[in-house]
Point group: C2
Chain length 251, copies 2
Amino acid sequence: MSDTPDKTQDRLYQDLARSLMEELASGRYPIGARLPAERELATSYNVSRPTVREAIIALEVQGLVEVKVGSGAYVRRLPGKEDLPGFNITAFELTEARLLFEGEAAALAATQASDEELDGIERLVEAIARENQQADGAEKSDREFHLAIARATRNTAIYNAIEHLWDLRATSPEAALLHEKARSANIKPVVDEHTAVLTALRNRDPGAARAAMRAHLAQVIDSLLFATEERAIEEARRTAQAKRARYQSAP
Amino acid sequence: MSDTPDKTQDRLYQDLARSLMEELASGRYPIGARLPAERELATSYNVSRPTVREAIIALEVQGLVEVKVGSGAYVRRLPGKEDLPGFNITAFELTEARLLFEGEAAALAATQASDEELDGIERLVEAIARENQQADGAEKSDREFHLAIARATRNTAIYNAIEHLWDLRATSPEAALLHEKARSANIKPVVDEHTAVLTALRNRDPGAARAAMRAHLAQVIDSLLFATEERAIEEARRTAQAKRARYQSAP
DNA sequence: CAAGAGAATTGGTAAGACCAAAAGGAAATG
DNA sequence: CATTTCCTTTTGGTCTTACCAATTCTCTTG
């Protein structure tokens, strides 16, 4: 098992899609411009037309281009670095963002959530407690708990953004690993923190909900720091002594 | 010109992709399950294999499935309603989310931004003032202003999320239209609001930065409300009298 | 029973063909 | 001369066939 256990290779269309995205990023094709015809791209890139079609569809699904039948593919927006493969975010950045955003979401949810939604959240808190006892580390209910609160804001944009942050964790192997390690080292407290959030929601107290959610995620950041130290020490043991001091001093 | 001026039709692969997503949502293929082979899907859906490939690539780009060469396509995650086409977010939801998130981002930026970044933000405020005088309604600098603040948080996840919210506006024709209308009706105030945010940032005052940004976006929401009423009246004039009262009473 | 070689399955890509929509220009028309 | 109409060209949409490569299955073999 390497760092990336099951990397799926091949996929020629991905190479072409990446090349085209770089062309877009270079400014060669500004917004509104038309890309060369599929047949032209096929010959210039030495691939078949189906491959070109696949690449363009990849861009289309990401909202980068718009294909008009009989006319061509037109640039819709320019790619940012988050569109490029290998885009990773630190677990700390992710959790800091969640601290801010989910704190506000909890505050809003305190004023918007229905009693039924609060009941559902309470069941999720219980589910989290059960999962923690099993110790096989399922964080599914944890995710659902946070997303249920986001949903209770009745604001699709907020829910969408917070769900996006959770998904980002999965795209970053490092972040996922760190979270897993943090979870195994620190289990009990999260139950109390979750119930604190729920209580604030039931009391319809936005400020308390925000504070409880922030406290919870601040605790997560702490455990991430702890796990980072652990990981650093592990690596230091495994590698040369020279690296040891450096990793231990890193927060 | 109808409500959707340039709807691109056809695209058989999209129909198939949607069908497959519905299959995933139905639970028929749980996470980790393998989809039928491309050739099987082609025959069962009465399409060609290239079309099946295109549909699967659409799912792959969205992170719904993972394709393993020589093995098959495996379910990676289940689709939510935000994955389905026709997913639109209200301009109000969008701005409410921005009010909460960008408020926090401004507060964080007040403690993190470098002097150079603040200078850059100041230049953007000036650019916004210039664009407003031209009255041809370019909101490019406005976007840059908000994104510069998000970037000043030094947190990629926060920047990414806020940029995502801005991009969502483009995907929703209704939201874009409403914003355009709101802009044309209400120009002057935004300059003062932007300078207020900048001043708070320069003073390194997180609370003031949050408050200024929230005030600014609250103002945007107000102008959206105003524009909504305008639009309602316009439509009412254009359509039958019977509809008139109904639209006018809608907030 | 285990290990290895071969066959079957599956995705990856190419090439060619034909259809339908769109765009551009030429000809007919007012 | 301007406008409209129609036809040709371009372009994307889809299908079919074919072959290659990676994987998986199966059956033989020691």
